[in-house]
Symmetry: C2
């Protein structure tokens, strides 16, 4: 169905690169889609990758560079002079060009823009450079077909013809008034079917969903998904049409967000891949491991403070794992549910009070079940006097962890931190620590009472 | 920018429903996009929701029903007779119609198919019903524009005109030979720009990426994302064109997969939302809490077996949390990295040996750092004789958890279970248990040696 990279094929290409067999390489690459050539570039060292890329048709090379993994791309581009890079940037969609240039040193960025043959492209890029990461403007491309509402379908087709090379996927033609304000759109299908002399004013659809440049990217993704859009026009505060965001970029946003969430939940403190260097991986894993260790050592201090109780009843130590893990598990479950509800913006939003009440009820059921199971276990190991200590502690731990799991992601979200952090090792360790404190306090209290 | 549902507006609609003010309701709903009406339906009880839906234009209602959350939809559809449901199904894309009907009792399904006015739609649905969930066939819709390679652009436009209502987003026209084998495609943009008398054979693009009906959905998503496709044609083993999959369905697949992964990692044993009932939530949270509790009680049994050692050195208990949490954290980090590498299929795949070697090296660094930190802590609490016990145990625990974190997701993936399970509470508890066993064994060994 699709191309699959094999070791043999890779060897074949590598040999051709070493031999400088440009004709063979060009012929082989012609057979492949840009995305497949990317797969080969990932496996090559920067120098041969540079060589291979420089042989390609500029528009193919532009598509490859636009979609390469940013870290690999930065390494690869170190081999390129600004004069070598410019022809690729010339052929790129403006949004991809800006992404790439933003990862280059300022000097390279300015040199490349200066060297662009296509001056419209240079203007597009300068327009887009000032949007900060994470807002609609940063995902937008300037390439689109727009047409004045007073023109005809024929004029529209002429416009498409002129822009045909620049605008890869048309989807729809945007309709604007004399000052460039967005009025609506005409689907490409409608243009195919319309009489050529028909007025745009008579056939366009004024039910158009758009976003402003300053909207957060997550909101753009949510809106495009909710309304099943292939592209969404981007406007300024006067509702003038500035660009559009296409679905492929949004798919990337959704995928990256999901990867980032899982990374954060897994306690990885930065972007990393399994095949990165050992140091790189360790650097990303250690911060949370150390933070977790410090948290656990605080729990150790708590436990040490109750040596007296432990000396009298050694079996108390046996319940440390269940207290810790139950607190952690409940915290993750609860915050994950809140996390999910935060991304769902259809319907009315839930009040904090209702959330907490429901969470409390769930926690009582769960806490009782787990508490009773652990309570039964105290009989099994012949320490029935621990029944109430263990059962009560677990109920308390589940209640506390549920509360923390509800409040923390909401709070993080409010102050603009990725709420997925609340499912990560930090909160888990905090729950662990609090749980153990509660357990020993209850133990001390109930066992001296008796 | 977009509609936002307020309490006031909802009250207004509810009052109109109670008063049976159909004219007002129709006028209000006309102003809204289908996705926004869905938001209102979520907030209504089934009976008024049924009432509101029955007032809508059938094609609008079809789009709403196609995109409603499946659980809410099933509840709502219980109010519908088959005769009421059929007109909506008539207007739906065939893939959405099949999804909906698959969730209905067989009797309803057959009645509705029998009642469909559009007999082509009925045939489409019967064609699609037999694909099992999770393969390309189950995401495919029959609606598409296809044209014989020997015809002209003019004939193609005529075909689009005839299919205009059925095929919402055209994207491209698929080109087939006399027996229906897929040859390539022509983009809609090319059709707009081509001379009407041009032969399809002269203008079509034979570089077409397609999938077979039996391909897993995750693979389809990966391919569409890799090649930035808006739609992908689906063929049978003879490469005959059967249908297509559009990007909006794939976006849903990607989002659902990410949600499912996070759910599994968070230890939720089924689909649930924060605003589901208390019982529903508890039912989904309890299985893993109980499993975790049982695992921790096994750890308790291990600890209890070392009462002798604990009796002599009470401070041993203090390190139970750090052993457990470090094992858990390392396991999650490692399996999350493997998980991520499994979804990335560009480039060559890594061999198990290389993976394990790299993981081993990372684990040694991480294990030494965490081990030494905890080791220093033994001096702080005045138990220096525990230095080697704690440091060695932590190194061992990190090594073991890294190994488990690498092997488990690969193994789960091989046997067709969602490898995200490996980051969930099950593996965490297993690591916890093994870690504590290792810790006490090392303690027993090193402390009797001294």
């Amino acid at each position: 169905m699709t191309f699959e990279l094999t070791k043999d094929y890779l060897d074949h290409i590598q040999t051709a690169i070493e031999a400088g067999d440009d004709a063979l390489l060009r012929a082989e690459m012609e057979e492949l889609f840009p995305a497949d050539i990317s797969g080969i570039l990932y496996e090559l060292e920067p120098e041969p990758a540079h060589y291979l890329l420089s042989l390609l048709d500029k528009s193919v090379g532009a598509e490859i560079l636009a979609n390469l993994d940013p870290t690999d791309r930065t390494n690869l581009l170190k081999r390129f002079t600004s004069a070598e890079l410019a022809p690729f940037i010339n052929q790129m969609d403006s949004d991809d060009a800006v992404d790439l240039l933003n990862q280059q040193p300022i000097q390279v960025r300015e040199e490349v823009i200066g060297l662009l043959e296509d001056r419209e492209q240079a203007r597009f890029i300068l327009d887009l450079l000032h949007y900060e990461d994470g807002v609609a403007g940063s995902l937008m491309q300037k390439e689109l077909i727009k047409i004045n509402v007073n023109l005809t379908v024929n004029a529209c087709i002429e416009e498409i013809r002129q822009q045909a090379e620049a605008v890869e996927n048309v989807y729809a033609v945007y309709v604007v008034d004399d000052v460039g304000k967005l009025l609506g759109l005409v689907s490409l299908k409608k243009i195919v079917l319309a009489r050529k002399t028909a007025k745009i004013a008579d056939i366009y659809d004024d039910d158009v969903v758009f976003v402003e440049t300053y909207r957060p990217v997550a909101e753009v993704a949510e809106v495009m998904q909710r309304y099943d859009l292939d592209a969404i026009p981007v406007v300024n505060v006067q509702q003038r049409l500035l660009g559009r965001i296409t679905i492929d970029d949004v798919v990337d946003v959704i995928t990256n967000q999901a990867e980032e969430d899982i990374q954060v939940i897994s306690g990885l403190s930065g972007e990393v891949e399994e095949d990165d260097s050992v140091w790189q991986r360790s650097k990303v894993q250690l911060p949370w491991l150390v933070a977790g260790a410090v948290g656990s050592l605080m729990a150790a201090t708590v436990i040490n403070g109750f040596q007296n109780e432990l000396g009298k009843i050694a079996a108390l130590a046996a319940f440390i794992p269940i207290i810790g893990s139950t607190g952690g598990n409940v915290g993750i479950q609860t915050s994950s549910l809140i996390l999910q509800s935060l991304t769902d913006t259809s319907g009315l939003s839930t009040t904090l009070g209702r959330r907490l009440l429901r969470t409390l009820l769930v926690a009582i059921i769960n806490g009782l079940v787990v508490g009773i199971i652990a309570g039964i276990y105290t009989f099994i190991i012949g320490e029935p006097r621990l029944f109430f200590v263990v059962a009560t502690s677990l109920l308390a731990v589940v209640l506390l962890a549920s509360f923390m799991g509800t409040i923390t992601p909401l709070l993080l979200n409010r102050i603009g931190i990725n709420p997925a952090v609340a499912s990560g090792p930090f909160i888990t360790t905090a729950n662990d620590l609090i749980g153990i404190g509660v357990y020993f306090l209850i133990a001390q209290w109930l066992l001296t009472e008796v």
